[in-house]
């Protein structure tokens, strides 16, 4: 537990630096206002816009914990959104559309999990298949067009509804994080996942159902991706199969890495991934809000700023850096 606490130190420091930068440049950053019963402000925006990546990062944490990876999550988001919007268009009820979208996500996760746990494909290859094919499936469902969702549809509440002023996506994401952290750390499930990721053979000899644990991790990932896809579709009141979730698999993997998990598996931290996702969205929102004497950040620099910040954060977290620091201290003394 202390080990995990130390891993959270750098991400927390990074977030503090980002927020301090914004507080200095942009006094309105921390303002919260109630507009039509809805809390608004940059901090809420960060959580709201970051909710899809946050959900993906939660699932990705478990998948990476088992020593795997899932590249298909962006495509699964697109499939879920397209399925829901298409069903709503053909007159299905909200419940049917929701169930079908989540079902599609579950099926995608089970497909990935089966290829990896039962057939023995490497996770990168197995999920790459669905990353490419999934977007194709979503485009087939939507005919390559953006399917609009009627402005009064109940399903839009997933993206725009509020409870006590808090946007629904924020509640879903934070709720999922709390539930997952509880299940992972209060039961032995988290330990099992880390065992599988740490040493698969030893886990099998110890009597763990390695295949089922793997399968379950990918299945849960699929469901979370579907929910993220529904949030994205409900947010813009349309399913955009071409762009929904595009490159978000990379953002979610990044969130997990920033959160201090090992990409080789065997160690994960839900709180770390949560922080990682929030950091990524805070960088994006800070760039969008930044104003340098009436000038925005030039768009060509967006990704460079993001990459530099993330690189610096990964560097200070690396074991090489940690080994180097005491040396410097002893040299000074």
């Amino acid at each position: 537990m202390r080990e995990i606490g130390r891993h959270l130190l750098w991400p927390l420091a990074a977030l503090a630096i980002l927020l301090a930068f914004n507080a200095l440049r942009d006094p309105a950053f921390f303002h919260l206002r109630l507009v039509e019963g809805r809390l608004t402000g940059a901090m809420i925006d960060i959580l709201n816009q970051g909710a899809p990546v946050l959900l993906l990062a939660l699932g990705m944490t478990l998948v990476i914990g088992t020593g795997g990876i899932d590249l298909s999550v962006g495509a699964v988001m697109a499939v879920a959104g397209a399925v829901a919007a298409d069903l709503l268009h053909s007159g299905a009820s909200t419940a049917t559309a929701l169930a079908a979208a989540v079902g599609a996500g579950l099926a995608a996760g089970l497909w990935n999990g089966s290829l990896i746990a039962l057939v023995g494909l490497s996770p990168i290859v197995a999920t790459l298949i669905l990353m490419v094919a999934g977007r194709g499936i979503a485009q087939l469902v939507s005919n390559g067009e953006i399917i609009d969702i009627a402005p009064d549809a109940a399903i839009l509440a997933i993206g725009r509804g509020t409870v006590l002023g808090l946007p629904f996506p924020v509640l879903i994401a934070l709720g999922a994080a709390a539930a997952l952290a509880g299940v992972a750390r209060l039961t032995s499930l988290g330990l099992f996942i880390e065992c599988v990721g740490g040493n698969e053979q030893a886990s099998r000899y110890a009597g763990l159902a390695v295949r089922s644990i793997r399968l379950a991790a990918y299945a849960l990932m699929g469901v979370l991706a579907a929910i993220a896809g529904l949030i994205d579709a409900a947010d813009i009141a349309a399913a955009d199969a071409n762009n929904c979730g595009l490159y978000l698999e990379l953002d979610s993997i990044l969130a997990v890495v920033i959160g201090g998990a090992a990409l080789t598996g065997g160690r994960f931290s839900i709180a770390g991934s949560l922080l990682g996702a929030i950091i990524i969205q805070t960088i994006s929102t800070s760039i969008l809000r930044a104003d340098f004497g009436g000038r925005s950040v030039p768009v060509e620099l967006n990704l460079i700023i993001k990459a530099t910040f993330v690189l610096a954060l990964c560097l200070v977290q690396s074991s090489e850096w940690r080994r180097w620091r005491p040396l410097r201290r002893s040299a000074a003394a």
Binding site: D26, A28, V35, E36, R38, T40, G41, A42, D45, Q49, G120, Q139, N143, G144, E145, I146, D148, R160, D232, D235, I236, A237, A238, D240, N242, N243, C244, L246, S284, T285, I287, L288, R289, D291, G294, S296, V297, V299, E300, N302
Partner: protein, 340 residues
């Protein structure tokens, strides 16, 4: 245990062999089928009296409704004129387009229509097409080659002019003064940089018009909404107008404006480019003020060019597609005649 493992791996490799065999059989079957259908087609071709024109079309992909409309226009026009169209979807990859052009050359098509995904790297394959005597017509995007005789003509909209038209409309609507925020397309893409340039040229004569914020919405509705949300919160009450490089981002911005408790189209003017159907619907609903068309219906112009060049006529190097400006005053009348 090692023995166990080795049997498993042998099993695995046998299974893999079986699946490879299966795949090979499937591939052979597909080839035979394709060949059979090809030869059937060619025999029916030679049977007819005048051989139909054969035109190869290398399309970028189907990433947007705009591009789907372009593909449909070219396909419909080919059918109308009795042209045998061979369409290859490159799925956003230049190497697929080069492969397609090579196969068009091998098939000895009469002409090639190419919508290039990027500007550079076309020299070798276009040189081969020229050597084979096959004219190449570029649609909607240009290429950078040292010798411009490598292609016949480029049929495309003028993105700079589109940006300028959007600026002129907005300057008039704002009476020459106001704060504008810009939602740019994907950084580095030709439509994004040209539409930005054209808009800046268009507002330059009006000292009161200022672009106060400008960020990329990557041509998508979700990003357009996210950027607009950030703009509205960073400078509440200081945005008079939005200029979006495409309709999708404008539609996202409209939602952000509504969620901020403002009236899009009234409190904040919105002008965008492309002229897709959803934009016309938004104009009819009073939420979007103006869209500058970027016409994807290039089929008729493309086949006119093919027929002219095959008849030995010389064409201008650039054929500019005429784009029009639509605002709320005309939206309701023309919405039913829009094809995309």
């Amino acid at each position: 245990m090692p023995r166990n493992a080795s049997t498993r791996s042998r099993d695995g490799s046998r299974r893999r062999h079986a699946s490879v065999l299966l795949l090979t059989c499937a591939a052979i079957a597909a080839c035979v089928f394709a060949f059979a259908s090809c030869s059937k087609k060619s025999s029916s071709d030679s049977g007819s009296e005048s051989k139909p024109l054969v035109v190869g079309f290398s399309q970028i992909g189907a990433e947007s409704s705009w591009r789907t409309a372009e593909t449909k226009s070219i396909r419909d026009e080919a059918k109308k004129r009795g042209v045998d169209l061979r369409l290859y979807d490159a799925q956003q990859k230049q190497e697929n387009q080069i492969k397609a052009i090579n196969s068009f050359i091998a098939q000895r098509v009469d002409a090639i229509i190419l919508a290039p995904v990027v500007e550079t790297g076309w020299e070798p394959v276009l040189t081969q097409a020229k050597a084979a005597g096959i004219p190449v017509i570029l649609v909607d995007r240009g290429v950078k080659v040292s010798d411009d005789s490598l292609y016949t003509t480029l049929i495309a909209s003028d993105f700079v002019a589109e940006g300028r038209m959007a600026a002129q409309w907005l300057a008039k609507a704002l009476n020459g003064a106001g704060n504008i925020v810009e939602l740019q397309g994907t950084p580095g893409s030709a439509p994004a940089s040209d539409r930005k340039k054209g808009f800046e040229e268009g507002i330059a004569p009006h000292a009161g018009l200022k672009i106060t914020r400008s960020q990329t919405g990557e041509f998508t509705r979700a990003k357009g909404k996210e950027v607009m949300e950030a703009f509205l919160k960073a400078a509440p009450g200081q945005v008079n107008a939005v200029y979006a490089h495409n309709d999708d981002m404008a539609l996202g911005a409209i939602q952000a404006i509504e969620e901020a408790g403002l009236k899009p189209g009234t409190d904040i003017l919105i002008v965008s480019i492309d002229g897709v159907r959803a934009a016309f619907e938004a104009m009819v609903a009073g939420k979007l003020n103006c869209t500058v068309e970027c016409n994807p219906l290039l089929g008729p112009a493309a086949f006119d060019a093919v027929e002219m060049v095959l008849a030995g006529e010389t064409l201008p190097k650039n054929i500019v597609v005429q784009d029009r400006v639509f605002d709320q005053s005309t939206a309701a009348e023309v919405i039913d005649s829009r094809e995309y």
